[in-house]
């Protein structure tokens, strides 16, 4: 296990360097001179030169790249151009609200997805199965924007079942009062694609020899699906859940924006609107790193769950 872990960590290095390089090229080369963005429309040459010196953009590229690499390693991206707040603090303080919505969403989505996938896999090929699949495709085709606008207007504004938007200070209040509607909308959007995917995992397993053996032994269909098939379909399901976690952090950005949740996703949109480059750079780099780390964890978990995977 240890040699495997070391090799994987070693392999992550070039990808991490690549992400840093890509972000650097995007912002320093493609993006033009940040001093002009920062100085605004009414700027004198002196002011621009001063900002350039302060940002270090008058240094040669390789020095700038080193500065950026140092920022990444020390978690110190300086200050937000828009608010002056430290970028490190922005990221750490926005993580909590994002997770308050995303953890319940991921758990519910996975449980509902698995239950429905097994139920549909149970009647595979039938009219019910086909109808559910067509309904899933239709549900996936409605834009998340429409779900948000309609649910927020209907359930929160007209019926008053939920607060229209807002965020509190205590975890309990947020979880019970402000998070439920975003979670509900998240489920409306994500259960259909999840169900389609999990159904394909279930069907892959349902055609295996061991399932036929289990049936031949006379096990009830229910037990075959819930115990035998589920245990084996668990591996791709775990992979999928783990792999989608970092993207979820950003994926909920529309929910966060509409419901005024001060999370990472809303921060990204605000930063893009304000051309707040340090914040976007930092979030991009760290989300990419998180993705890589989660991929590694998935591989480790994979090995733990499936004894057939050879250590190596």
């Amino acid at each position: 296990m240890l040699p495997f872990l070391l090799r994987r960590l070693w392999q992550m290095l070039p990808t991490m360097l690549g992400v840093v390089l890509l972000v650097f090229v995007l912002f320093n080369w493609v993006g033009g001179d940040p001093a002009y963005v920062l100085a605004g429309k009414m700027s004198s040459l002196d002011a621009i030169a001063g900002i350039r010196r302060q940002l270090g953009v008058d240094e040669p590229y390789h020095v700038q790249l080193l500065i950026f690499a140092k920022q990444v390693v020390t978690f110190d991206f300086g200050q937000s151009w828009a608010t002056g707040e430290s970028v490190g603090h922005i990221i750490s303080s926005r993580l909590g609200p994002s997770l308050t919505v995303l953890v319940p969403l991921t758990i519910l989505e996975t449980l509902i997805g698995i239950a429905l996938a097994l139920a549909v896999g149970f009647v595979r090929g039938s009219l019910t199965d086909r109808a559910v699949m067509v309904a899933c495709t239709a549900a996936m085709s409605v834009s998340i924007l429409v779900y948000i606008i309609a649910f927020q207007y209907g359930l929160a504004y007209r019926l008053g079942l939920f607060p229209v938007q807002g965020w509190g200070d205590s975890l309990g209040e947020n979880l019970l009062r402000y998070a439920p509607l975003p979670v509900l909308i998240g489920l409306a959007v994500s259960v259909a694609p999840t169900l389609r995917l999990y159904r394909s995992f279930v069907l892959d397993e349902a055609n295996q020899d061991y399932v036929r053996t289990a049936r031949a032994k006379g096990l009830p269909e229910r037990r075959v699906m819930w115990v035998h098939v589920l245990r084996n379909a668990a591996i791709p399901i775990i992979t999928h859940v783990m792999a989608s976690l970092p993207a979820l952090l950003i994926g909920a950005f529309l929910l966060e924006r509409f419901f005024g949740i001060p999370g990472i996703g809303r921060e990204v949109i605000l930063a893009v609107e304000r051309s707040d480059f340090p914040v976007i750079k930092a979030i991009t780099v760290y989300v990419a790193f998180a993705t890589m780390v989660f991929n590694l964890l998935t591989d480790l978990l994979y090995r733990a769950v499936d004894p057939r995977v050879q250590p190596g």
Binding site: P14, T15, G18, V19, L21, L22, V23, L26, F27, V30, G31, G32, V134, T137, A138, M140, S141, V142, S143, I144, L145, V146, I149, A150, Y153, Y157, P246, A247, L249, I250, G251, F253, L254, R257, V268, I269, A271, V272, E273, S275, F277, I280, I283, T284, V287, A288, F289, T291, M292, N295
Partner: protein, 346 residues
């Protein structure tokens, strides 16, 4: 005997190729054909709109502000809308505080129709927006923007992915290492974050910018699949035969191998179009997409969000329904196409 006859009859007909077989399978699938018909209908509609034959006058103020859909009747229009409808009745030139009022009267009189205010109807088949634009025409015009962006960006992404995948899979070695490294770098950044990051950097708003953003960030999926296909194909006999008759590497890659993997590229295009139409809508909604003055489904949803609070739901319904119908049909067709082209099913 009959078996032999059938066999001989089969030999007499030309063997059906991949595309013929795929088309036969598609034809047999009623759902796929219905979906194809819907997609084709939309494509015809936006082609007509692009040529200026349909919805060209969408910016004409055809109805009163927020004219309700006809089936609701004009009675639904609230006092604000009624006030706006009554407004043209008060002649602007009678306004003593407007220094240009007199000139306006002269200018109006010079117009061929005598400067009469355009007739604005109290209801429209599917209602009107804040300025009285016909929602049906606006939806068609918005479809043109959204669908064209989706299709052009999908071809750009798949073209780029195919080119890089072919180089990577065919040459292997250091080219493959380098491109696969680039692939892993791009895929470690979630796509929506990647899109927003590039949008932040490029600043310039416009249809071309969105196409570029989506195309440059969407190549990774096609790259992975096309690369795998090239690795599979490069050692086949027909490629060696091409090598033997002196075909260049470029010719082998794109004249000999590409037709055999083009079905993978086509399925990728059909899948990406759906994803990109949805992405464009979100980008335009957030204000990072189409510039002001260009109508797309995203900009319609953006306007509709505020209108909803006034109880004007028809623009939201029209854009959402149009998008849902197209995307559902496109997804169903893409699924059926993938199944029909999957060589394993043969």
């Amino acid at each position: 005997m009959s078996g032999l006859h059938a066999h001989l009859a089969h030999l007499a007909t030309t063997p059906a190729g991949l595309w013929t077989l795929a088309w036969r399978r598609l034809r047999a699938d009623r759902l796929a054909m219905a979906a194809l018909a819907v997609v084709a209908g939309w494509l015809v509609l936006i082609a007509l709109s692009g040529a200026g034959l349909v919805a060209a006058d969408w910016e004409r103020e055809a109805g009163v502000n927020y004219a309700p859909p006809s089936f609701l009747g004009a009675a639904v229009a609230d006092t604000a809308a009624a006030g706006a409808a009554a407004a043209p009745a008060v002649p602007a030139r009678a306004n003593p505080f407007d220094p240009l009022a007199g000139d306006l009267a002269v200018l109006r009189a010079a117009l061929p129709d005598g400067g009469a205010a355009p007739e604005r109807r109290p209801t429209l088949p599917f209602g009107a927006d804040k300025w009285g634009h016909d929602i049906v025409k606006k939806t068609v015009k918005g479809a043109e923007t959204s669908i064209v962006i989706g299709i052009v960006a999908a071809f750009l992404a798949v073209g780029l992915g195919t080119l890089l995948g072919a180089l990577s899979g065919y040459f292997g070695g250091i080219v493959d290492d380098l491109l696969t490294w680039l692939y892993s770098v791009f895929t470690s950044i979630p796509s929506i974050l990647m899109i927003l990051t590039v949008a932040a950097v490029l600043q310039a708003k416009g249809v071309a910018t969105i196409v570029l953003i989506l195309g440059l960030t969407g190549w990774t999926g096609p790259y992975r699949l096309i690369r795998a296909e090239y690795i599979r194909h490069k050692a086949r006999e027909y490629v060696m035969a091409a090598d033997a008759i002196g075909a260049s590497a470029w010719r082998r890659m794109f004249v000999h191998i590409f037709p055999n993997v083009s079905h993978v590229a086509l399925v990728q295009v059909s899948i990406l179009v759906v994803g990109f139409i949805k992405a464009e809508v979100i980008l335009s909604f957030l204000g990072f997409g189409v510039p002001a003055g260009v109508v797309s489904w995203g900009s319609m949803l953006n306007e509709a969000q505020n209108e909803l609070l006034l109880g004007k739901w028809w623009q939201l319904a029209a854009a959402a329904a149009a998008m849902a119908v197209l995307v559902t049909a496109f997804s169903l067709f893409a699924d059926a196409l993938r199944d029909a082209l999957d060589p394993k099913v043969k």
